[in-house]
């Protein structure tokens, strides 16, 4: 646990600021770790040639008294659908004829301005369309997937290859890999963080956010990433609170909602137990638990598919007409071609459905501070498997994996996943906490209170290369 690569940002930042730790040494430690471990994980598609220079710059600035904040000198992995000025972007695609600009996404620019060191590009499921992220391995069990589509960032952070990672989340693509890899992953409120310079997947569902080892680290990343950006038409001009003030508080006096339909359907046995125990713990810590149901959730799958498929196909229209789509991976090719089957009326009905679903959640969130439940119904599944056993029946991983996460993409509500236990195979289980629009402080408060009462965040996967 004393290895540099195993420490969270909240532990590294004070030492970097005081000069006890050099950003150059920290970056070298991660680069050495990438060289040693990434042949097992395959989480990076590109390692930065400029990371050492960025670390040297950070070292000079800190030594000169120009400390930029807790990300100064911190190596961060950047999902390969974020544009970067110094590293190529592929969005996970090898299709010929695609070229992405060499410039920084707004969020990457914010990280650099905060002194962070982008250490490399992490793998994404092609065009962020999927929940597997081939060829990445899960650090907790190399025979399993890290989930996706931000599986590269998740595997890299969980494996100790960088201190934090950037992800994107259209139906759960930050929270699902966070859950599968034992990390904290935050999908902020839609409009909280700019998507400028992130290769679009589905404009009204895409969110940008961090994957980290601890809730405090997530608050630190969000502090830098959040803020208005007129270049993202969906970004909202809302004040950015001091997220650190949400940390270290009790849940006593808070009201926590538990949605008993949909969010607890079709759970693996161990996954059913861990979030239930977490809810009990929150009640024992002084929160009032209120159970409710939202029957409308039964109609959500068609809505998110209609929006996601139609939007993705619209984005890839030029590639369809140019004949590039057959070069996409078979699953992504099918999804992009399939988007043509969604009618305009279905798409708009899905947008109507979002209105009533948002209304239903707003009524609940008028009486509860946050909503808590499992992040996913299943833990990380074996590579190459497309069905998993849930109880006594097999279920498609595509259908199961995002069932609890996509409602918060449809509603745009902030939602975090953090570890709440391990299953009988030693695989992490995630707890999802969602809140009111722009009330990330309440989400972080509950997450941090829960995290502090357990030692889940201190557990690390053992990688045999060590």
């Amino acid at each position: 646990m004393n290895e540099l690569w195993s420490r969270p940002i909240e532990s590294l930042a004070p030492d970097l600021r005081s000069g006890k730790l050099s950003p150059v040494d920290l970056t070298e430690a991660y680069l050495a770790r990438i060289a040693a471990v990434d042949p097992l994980l395959d989480s990076f598609i590109h390692v930065s040639a400029d990371a050492r220079e960025a670390a040297r710059t950070a070292e000079r600035e800190i030594a000169a008294g120009r400390w930029r904040g807790p990300l100064h000198g911190i190596p961060v992995g950047v999902k390969d659908n974020y544009l970067t000025a110094d590293m190529p972007t592929t969005a996970g695609s090898t299709a010929e004829g695609l070229a992405f600009p060499m410039r920084d996404a707004a969020t990457v620019a914010r990280l650099r301005a905060a002194g962070a060191v982008p250490i490399g590009k992490t793998r994404t499921h092609e065009f962020a369309w999927g929940n597997v992220t081939p060829p990445v391995h899960n650090p907790w069990d190399l025979s399993r997937v890290p989930s996706g589509s931000s599986g590269g960032s998740a595997a890299a952070v969980a494996g100790g290859l960088c201190a934090a990672g950037l992800g994107s989340d259209t139906g759960g693509s930050i929270r699902m890999p966070a859950s599968a890899c034992g990390l904290v992953g935050l999908k902020p409120t839609f409009g909280r963080v700019s998507r400028d310079g992130i290769v679009p997947h589905s404009w009204s569902l895409d969110h940008a956010g961090p994957l980290t080892r601890t809730v405090a680290d997530t608050a630190t990343l969000l502090q830098v990433l959040a803020g208005y950006d007129p270049t993202d038409p969906a970004c909202q001009d809302q004040p950015v609170p001091d997220y650190a003030k949400s940390l270290g508080k009790s849940v006593k006096g808070m009201t926590i909602g538990v949605c008993r339909n949909h969010f607890f359907d079709g759970l693996q046995d161990d996954v059913a137990r861990a979030p239930a125990a977490a809810i009990d713990d929150l009640a024992k810590a002084g929160a009032r638990i209120v159970e409710f149901e939202i029957p409308l959730l039964a109609h959500g799958l068609g809505a998110i598919f209609a929006i996601e498929l139609a939007s993705s196909t619209a984005y890839h229209d030029e590639s369809l007409r140019a004949g590039r789509v057959p070069q996409f991976q078979p699953d992504v090719r099918t999804l992009v071609e399939m988007g043509r089957l969604v009618t305009g009326a279905d798409y708009l009905k899905a947008e109507q459905y979002r209105s009533v679903l948002m209304e239903a959640f707003s009524k609940v969130l008028a009486t509860v501070d946050v909503i808590v439940g499992p992040t996913t119904p299943i833990t990380a599944w074996k590579r190459g498997e497309w069905t998993v056993q849930v109880g006594d029946r097999p279920e498609s991983v595509l259908a199961a994996s995002w069932r609890f996460t996509y409602p918060y993409n449809l509603t745009g509500l902030p939602a975090i996943s953090l570890p709440c236990g391990f299953d009988r195979d030693g695989l992490p289980i995630g707890l999802q906490i969602a809140g009111r629009p722009f009330d990330e402080p309440a989400v972080l408060r509950v997450a941090h209170a829960y995290e502090r009462a357990h030692d889940w965040k201190d557990r690390r996967p053992t990688l045999t290369v060590e």
Binding site: G227, Y228, H299, L341, D346, E351, S396, A399
Partner: protein, 64 residues
């Protein structure tokens, strides 16, 4: 649904019939979800995505 030229034109998908059949088959599970969506009466509900003509005129902001 029988794939034919008119259908392919409607979809804007220039795929051979066998490939179009594969895509249609893959869509069947999703269509179940979309059927459930269609069953809702949302006649009086405005879609969540709202046309906003001032968007191109937005400048700056108060990045607090």
């Amino acid at each position: 649904m029988e794939p034919d030229d008119t259908f392919r034109d409607l979809l804007g998908l220039d795929l051979p019939p066998e490939r179009l059949s594969e895509v249609l088959a893959a869509y069947r599970d999703i269509l179940d979800g979309i059927r459930a969506l269609r069953s809702l009466d949302l006649t009086d509900v405005h879609p969540a995505v709202v046309f906003e003509p001032t968007a191109p005129y937005r400048r700056g902001g108060t990045d607090a």
